[in-house]
């Protein structure tokens, strides 16, 4: 029988502290009305100076292991999608694996911007189907507020911190990882970039003074590409899966901007009750947004089998990805 990959447990973690739009009104020239109508965001969770990406990732992963009924020795690999690792090296995944008590398993980070978690699920599907691993932890974890420019009124209102994780197993029952689509376009990499801190522009006094370590984004162009990439990812993943869009029960898209989520829902002809939205509470948490939303939907009983769920994302790169997950009855 053909090997298949299932989501058998999920978990998430966000820091306790909340930053509201009213708080931001005191920091930059903005307003609750402006932020709400353009993004849908009301609050976001932010880490304190003692908390890093690995801390959130460890909690989220432990919760996913608990939901799947896994002990540390059950996990055969762990990888983390992140653009805000604890360090450039060692990989945050190694730190998390150690804290979870995993025994010397392969652990690594990768960067695919906000598409990272869906990229991770597609990789997990391939590892499980090929027989390399039976049980993998896939994590999306970010501390975006650590690289947010709090003087840039257009971007600082957007970001939040958090982590989400999924346990992927060769044995169901669970959410079957099905048809997918993923891609990238480096020709428009300058739309969304952290310019300094890597080998192109190593950290210097000048790069720090020039604010080159912050997230820089061309909002309107990114919006345009995001809407088109999300639409294409969803439709091509459905096509590969052999599923009609009329059979979709729930869309969980990357939570970057309510207007992008809405445009994606319209492309799939989905009514609002079939679209999971939590951007109002968390803002954009990059690779963590989909696993946080997925875990919430699981724990709130929204994903009771049978359900066909579409996950779709886009992000820095630019990258985009979509995957169909089916919980069969």
């Amino acid at each position: 029988m053909k090997r298949q990959a299932f989501i058998t447990g999920t978990g998430h973690a966000v820091p306790e502290a909340i930053l509201t739009n009213a708080d931001l009104e005191k920091m930059v020239d903005t307003s609750d009305e402006w932020i709400t109508t353009r993004t849908g965001i009301k609050t976001r969770h932010i880490t304190d100076s003692n908390t890093a990406t690995s801390d959130l990732a460890t909690t989220a992963a432990a919760r996913a292991m608990e939901a799947a009924g896994w002990k540390p020795e059950d996990v055969q690999a762990l990888f983390i999608a992140t653009v805000t690792p604890d360090h450039a090296f060692p990989a945050t995944a190694c730190l998390v694996a150690d804290r979870l008590g995993l025994s010397r398993v392969p652990a690594w980070d990768f960067a695919a911007g906000c598409s990272g978690f869906v990229y991770g699920l597609i990789q997990a599907r391939a590892f499980v189907e090929s027989g390399i691993f039976d049980r993998i932890l896939v994590i999306g974890a970010e501390c975006l507020t650590k690289i947010t420019n709090w003087k840039d009124r257009a971007s600082c209102v957007l970001f939040g911190d958090g982590a989400g994780a999924a346990a992927i197993s060769s044995q169901g029952p669970g959410g079957l990882l099905g048809g997918y689509h993923w891609g990238s376009d480096g020709a428009i990499s300058d739309l969304l970039v952290q310019a300094a801190g890597g080998s192109r522009n190593p950290a210097t006094h000048e790069t720090v003074e020039a604010g080159m370590h912050y997230i820089a984004m061309n909002g309107s162009e990114t919006f345009k590409h995001a809407v088109r990439a999300m639409r294409e990812s969803c439709l091509l993943a459905l096509e590969m899966d052999g599923t009609d869009k009329s059979d979709v029960d729930l869309l969980i898209s990357h939570q970057a901007n309510y207007r992008i989520i809405d445009a994606t829902a319209r492309a799939l002809e989905l009514p609002p009750e079939k679209v999971y939205v939590n951007i109002d509470r968390y803002g954009n948490t990059s690779s963590a947004s989909i696993p946080i939303a997925l875990d919430e939907a699981m724990r709130r009983g929204i994903i009771t089998p049978p359900k066909t769920v579409v996950l779709a994302a886009f992000g820095a790169g630019l990258t985009w990805a979509g995957i169909i997950v089916k919980w069969n009855g």
Binding site: T37, R38, N218, S220, E221, F223, V227, R228, R259
Partner: protein, 79 residues
Amino acid sequence: MSLENRVTEIIVNKLGVRAEEVSAEANFQTDLGADSLDLVELMMDFEDSFKLKISDEDSSSLKSVGDVIKYLKAHGVEE
């Protein structure tokens, strides 16, 4: 359908305004109530409907309905 009518239809659908409001002089933001993201989506709808690419710089100069019609004609969109 004339170019003007096609443009009007796209604007009515996107912004939820009445066709009578969509005069050539109507400014998207001050007269038709569009915000910056509405404008981006509107430009995407023009791109999709008329099969052309409107650059970021060009978009920012298209402030009224008449600007768009003039732009489309100048870029080879037939009546």
